[in-house]
Symmetry: C2
Subunit: 296 residues, 2 copies
Amino acid sequence: MALLSVLTPVLVVVLCMVVGFMLLKPRETVTPTTEKTKERTKQDFRPWVDQDLQDDTEIPGKQDDDGEWVDSHEDEDLLHVPYSPKRYPEETMLDRSQDFYNLMNQRRSVRFISPEPVPREVIDNVIRTAGTAPSGAHTEPWTFVVVSDPETKHQIRLIVEEEEEVNYRQRMGDKWVHDLAKLRTNWIKEYLDVAPYLVLIFKQTYGILPNNKKRTHYYNEISVSISCGILLAALQNVGLVTVTSTPLNCGPQLRVLLKRPTNEKLLMLLPVGYPASDATVPDLKRKPLDEIMVDI
Amino acid sequence: MALLSVLTPVLVVVLCMVVGFMLLKPRETVTPTTEKTKERTKQDFRPWVDQDLQDDTEIPGKQDDDGEWVDSHEDEDLLHVPYSPKRYPEETMLDRSQDFYNLMNQRRSVRFISPEPVPREVIDNVIRTAGTAPSGAHTEPWTFVVVSDPETKHQIRLIVEEEEEVNYRQRMGDKWVHDLAKLRTNWIKEYLDVAPYLVLIFKQTYGILPNNKKRTHYYNEISVSISCGILLAALQNVGLVTVTSTPLNCGPQLRVLLKRPTNEKLLMLLPVGYPASDATVPDLKRKPLDEIMVDI
């Protein structure tokens, strides 16, 4: 007890530090989504972060106590209008479905991109097409940064290669390197200099309204990924190639380089161009239909 | 000091509880991905869960200590083959990009679906097309469950409506209901009975090899979402409609109903069919190009 008595000031200091640390900690941690979801109180419940749908949608009041989370309702009482899209005869449908499958099935991730220029209007149309994707509560939470400036492309390359080399050498362990070995990929990303366009796709983790208040972007990562799927289809449709890349750890540096606001996070980086004349791809096969589809 | 002395045992107990709590806490929380990432040790580092790419890829050894995580390398030393896809003249590219944009820009989420039958071959081709999406390390981590059985569709409806009603009434709070108000959606999902097909898209959070060992599925959620984007494009291309839905909290129940294994988690549910003759959609606008694209 005497010893404890002597140690009391130390204990008080330690306790204060520990409590202080704990109070700060929750701001940095992501709420876990487990089977316990249903037991949460209404206040804690994040309906758009389901146990089956993990997402880093930012939460009202937790990230920024100064920013009141509100939503835009200009279009709340939208008129509903008749919708009658084009309808094709069954035979035409079947032909179109087969043709589109054939077109998309020829798509491959290509790491050897030609420096030849690509018409800018085509890129604009491809991005417009990506912007037709659905999104949670129609928030359209995407920003497509199209980089053609050689110096900026080179800066991007330096950032990505530096991080990738560290990833490969130190962090990933043998397993990930092993998995990628068959794709003959490594940390040299020449295509980042060579491709006429780099498309960096940012997800907006929340929106900012004209009055500077924040707007929740439900399912922003899934929405932006769907948009990327449509973008890949649009590129394939015009004969351009890309490789779907998710540059590890480079997001914050690239965000700063490209002067994007803090609500945007890098989701994907797509170099875009014609394939190089000597481009090769690994001779991968895709799963047959009966391995990806189940009928009930 | 005397007061502190008296309080010492209390402080010690509090300190022990706080420290104990902190030691237990990390097991429940998702590792935060912050600027501190680089400081992590190799052992803790999860390279596919980047600060910009939150994912619920399951981690070797954490989910199932009996299951050794290994990878399939049958195709490790794949031959690389020349790749020279079709190349179009610039004018044709521009026309194709415009036509595809016009087609995709007519796509809308439709909640009023006709019960008319749809040729099964068309659905097969649409799913085949979705299966051409890229995926992390070519893992193809998707399962498309196509439900046409009326009784199963009704069971799905009951599960979804029950959970949705609870979501709307109790959990979501005014904010989410407010956000959805403009879409006039609610917990009645008649289309789940009416649509000729329900496509339930599961992400495989890990793979299972022929020898029953597990295989890591990097970026499975992003990969499957990209695949859904291509699926939406394929549906639009044949004149079918759907509404992108992410049934909250229903994943586990629907997984069991559809007899999917535990490595699969529901990502999306798409009712598919022709639009009803009296279908309406909210008169939403999409952002113009200059609001979604940045040139550098």
